[in-house]
């Protein structure tokens, strides 16, 4: 095979095109056997690499820096965790295999999910010694040793008994009914033997659960050492403050009175019916449970920890009993993701004083706005959002909850999808269904009313990106600091003479998807805020984006310049972003400055019914940046560049 052909294959390889097996073999042979060719290829790769980094894309550089500090934060978080584990080491090392206490199966401590970093190393501060890992490994080895010992100790009772323990752990308090061969096997073993093994495990678990509940009842102000002390050592007394903030909890207590909490006694003197978990384990569990992770943060956003306020950065873990706060600037925003994909978004001027797991997720929302997309929760463990005026119980839905600083305005709950139960301080409850709103406030009757949706603002972080054409990028000039960015597109606009022929967007593999609640039977003007490269004579690098609204009726009067294929797809193209120096609003129709149609009436759409709607964005020409979509029943003229919502 000649050199030209090998170089052609190399060019193909370099641009990411897959080679056939014959081509790969040819390229391998050429590369191995022809030294000159090999040098040629290696030098070409060098130039290729230099070219790739020659013209720094500011967005890519910013993204690189952001990613780096995100990873740094995640690593730092992990190293703090490791240090805490190390601080427990002397206690664990004193555990003797002969000590019955050490035989007790430890309650499963929920180990937090690994951060996105692929390499593990201690990195709390620059220059932190990697030797700290040694202690971590020693601890892990010791712990594993104890577990293995425990395994062999209990194995004398046989597999069946282990199964029984496992069953009893799953259903504590329930008497299991052995049947068939299993019952016979169990009958062959002395019953006391089984209980001897099962009881400590069960009791240790019950004890831990009881303590966890006690701990989660106390509301701790971050940075309050006295409260911290109380939370970690002394079982709290029920307080009026708790009753005010947790009406649900009060209601439960009245219905199912619990025994009063025991007076605080030193741990050593407390009688224990069975050996318990090692000292420190409980505190470890209460403080180390990772509840969620910061997914996005913009502006002034803080994690409220025991040590005080810490700037919240993407990738940071939120532990049980920590809180969140956003600043007063308009762009301040924080998105939190739970392991079950439940997502909550805090708007500006919001304070969630505590997030915890207590028979489900629980948020104490002091003020501000929280929008939540809640994945389906177990029925017995709904997500609770407690505010100073009431409590919302969520099983799985999309909602927005606003706590007004004015107590007369109270807490407003808007449900986009699903059902949410709202309870006020008087104990009255109302079921709020999708498209409805209810207000819990002093002197306001608690009723659900139909929600009139006149203004819908959709931002990049609410979108779902399907396939690879679109990505979320940081952009300081975008609203909220984030934009949807299409670097390339496979869509083709054919030119026939002076006419542009648009293909269908219906089966495009990559797009941006928004789901939102909107009313049916009313007209919404559609505005897109976007950015483009400067105009080029052939319009091939200027941004062009199609808005597809499946099932909606597009106003045909406004779609005068729209292509029929797109219109048939319930879609319309938005172009002309290049006319703005940065981001600007485009109304879709009539955005052709060369035809003098700059500020004509924008596209309007009408949904056939109220409920959850879908809107898709397709990149028709790239690169394109979009930072907001606005559907409005009132905004019929072009908004100001900085305007977002009425």
């Amino acid at each position: 095979m000649n050199q030209e052909r090998i170089l052609e294959l190399w060019a193909k390889f370099l641009q990411g095109t897959s080679l056939s097996s014959e081509e790969e073999v040819a390229l391998c042979d050429g590369f191995r056997n022809d030294e000159r060719l090999r040098q040629e290829i290696l030098k070409d790769l060098r130039v290729h690499g230099l070219l790739r980094s020659l013209e720094g894309d500011p967005l890519a550089e910013e993204a690189f820096q952001r990613r780096f500090f995100g990873r740094l934060a995640a690593d730092s978080d992990e190293s703090q965790f490791i240090r805490r584990v190390e601080s427990q080491l002397p206690v664990e090392r004193k555990d003797s295999p002969d000590d019955p206490a050490s035989r007790v199966p430890r309650p499963k401590t929920r180990r937090r999910r690994s951060p996105p970093s692929t390499r593990r190393s201690v990195a709390g501060r620059p220059g932190a010694s990697p030797g700290a890992w040694t202690w971590g490994l020693v601890a892990a080895g010791l712990f594993m040793g104890i577990l293995v010992l425990l395994f062999f100790t209990s194995s004398e009772s046989g597999q069946v008994e282990r199964e029984k323990i496992s069953r009893e752990r799953r259903a504590p308090g329930k008497q299991s009914q052995p049947s068939g061969a299993r019952a016979e096997d169990e009958g062959a073993k002395p019953r006391g033997e089984t209980e001897r093994i099962a009881r400590p495990a069960e009791e240790a678990q019950a004890e831990n659960e009881r303590k966890r509940r006690e701990l989660s009842r106390v509301r701790v102000r971050p940075g309050d050492p006295a409260a911290e002390e109380e939370r970690t050592k002394v079982p709290p007394k029920p307080e009026d403050e708790k009753a005010r903030r947790e009406p649900g909890a009060v209601g439960r207590a009245e219905k199912n009175p619990e025994p009063p909490a025991p007076p605080p006694t030193p741990r050593e003197e407390k009688p224990r019916p069975a050996p318990a978990a090692a000292p420190g384990t409980q505190v470890q569990e209460a403080t180390q449970v990772v509840i969620a992770q910061v997914e996005e943060s913009c502006g002034e956003v803080f994690l409220l920890t025991k040590a005080g306020k810490v700037p919240a950065m993407p990738g940071m873990n939120v532990l049980s009993a920590q809180g969140l706060e956003t600043g007063t600037t308009g762009g301040s925003r924080l998105v939190l993701r739970f392991p079950d994909k439940t997502c909550i978004e805090l708007g500006a001027r919001t304070e969630v004083s505590e997030i915890k797991l207590a028979a489900g997720k629980k948020l104490l929302l002091d003020r501000g706005t929280v929008r939540a997309q809640v994945s389906k929760q177990p029925k017995a463990e709904p997500m609770l959002i407690a505010t100073p005026h009431g409590e919302a119980k969520v099983v799985g839905t999309t909602l927005r909850i606003v706590v007004d600083p004015d107590p007369n305005k109270g807490t407003q709950l808007e449900v986009e999808e699903g059902k949410v139960e709202l309870k006020n301080l008087a104990g009255k409850t109302v079921l709020v269904e999708s498209g409805h709103v209810a207000v819990a406030a002093t002197g306001v009757e608690l009723v659900a009313k139909s929600l009139q949706i006149n203004e819908i603002l959709l931002f990049p972080w609410q979108a779902r990106l399907v396939a690879a054409e679109w990505s979320l990028v940081p952009d300081s000039s975008a609203h909220g600091g984030t934009a949807l960015y299409a670097r390339k597109t496979s869509y083709q606009i054919k030119q026939v003479g002076t006419n542009s022929i648009y293909g269908s967007v219906k089966s495009r593999p990559s797009y941006v998807l928004f789901n939102f609640y909107a009313d049916g039977g009313k007209d919404y003007w559609v505005w897109l805020r976007g950015k483009s490269l400067p105009e080029d004579p052939n319009h091939v690098t200027t941004a062009e984006v199609a808005v597809e609204v499946p099932g909606a009726q597009l106003n045909p009067l406004n779609a005068e310049s729209g292509d029929r294929t797109l219109t048939a797809d319930h879609a319309y193209d938005f172009t002309g972003f290049f006319r703005f120096p940065g981001y600007g609003w485009i109304g879709g129709a009539g955005e052709h400055p060369e035809q003098g149609k700059v500020d004509e009436v924008p596209l309007s759409i009408r949904f056939s019914r109220s409920g959850m709607q879908t809107l898709k964005l397709h990149a028709l020409q790239a690169p394109a940046w979009i930072d907001a979509v606005w559907l409005s029943t009132t905004q019929s003229t072009r908004p100001q560049a900085g305007q977002a919502g009425n």
Binding site: A11, L42, V47, S53, L54, F68, R71, S121, A123, P126
Partner: protein
């Protein structure tokens, strides 16, 4: 240089802002260096991240005997070597596959290429000048592919050519740029 030393000192004391500035100053040359050995763009970016993280963690061990940038490139080279050896080893069993062959060859180059470490700046400067001197048509192709991230398919469609043809044209332009760059570097060295 004094400013850089100050930034390193501040970063060592825990200043994120100082390290952000160091990252901004050096990310271009670091990525340029890595991209010369790592053909996969995402992998090169990942290694650049790893290199900066390693530098951050080990700032305490940086004695300032060599410039910070050179120290950083040495870290990057170690990461690149580890990646290439791993790629070579991991896919060694894949008969007739090009990636392990290329990875092993590049690992050997990186191992021997201590001299490359102080060259990215000069190379970038020379290459920049050479790109400016390209004929308009070639410059447009290079800008489109490398600076505007356009695909060869798009550019081919625009020019009425297939993607293989565009790929080969880019290869020829790169060869011309390399020759131009080498002669400029040789001339600079002769002057020095």
């Amino acid at each position: 240089m004094e400013q850089e030393e100050r930034l390193v000192e501040q970063a060592r004391r825990g200043s994120h802002e100082a390290f952000r500035e160091l990252l901004r100053l050096h990310q271009g040359r670091l990525r340029a260096y890595l991209s010369g050995y790592i053909w996969d763009r995402d992998a090169a970016d990942d290694l650049a991240q790893e290199s900066f993280l390693a530098a951050y963690r080990n700032l305490g061990g940086f004695r300032g005997e060599a410039p910070f940038g050179l120290w950083l490139l040495r870290i990057a080279r170690n990461h690149a070597l580890a990646y290439l050896r791993n790629e070579g080893r991991r896919r060694a069993h894949e008969q007739g596959k090009f990636v392990p062959v290329l990875a092993n060859a590049l690992a050997s180059c990186a191992e021997l290429g201590e001299g490359d470490l102080d060259s990215p700046d000069r190379e970038i400067q020379a290459l920049r000048t050479c790109v400016e001197k390209l004929p308009a048509h070639s410059a447009e192709l290079i800008r489109g592919y490398y600076f505007k991230n356009r695909s060869v398919v798009d550019m081919g469609r625009e020019l009425g050519k297939g993607k293989s043809a565009i790929g080969m044209t880019l290869l020829r332009i790169r060869t011309a740029l390399r020759q131009c760059m080498e002669s400029r570097l040789a001339a600079t060295e002769a002057e020095a």
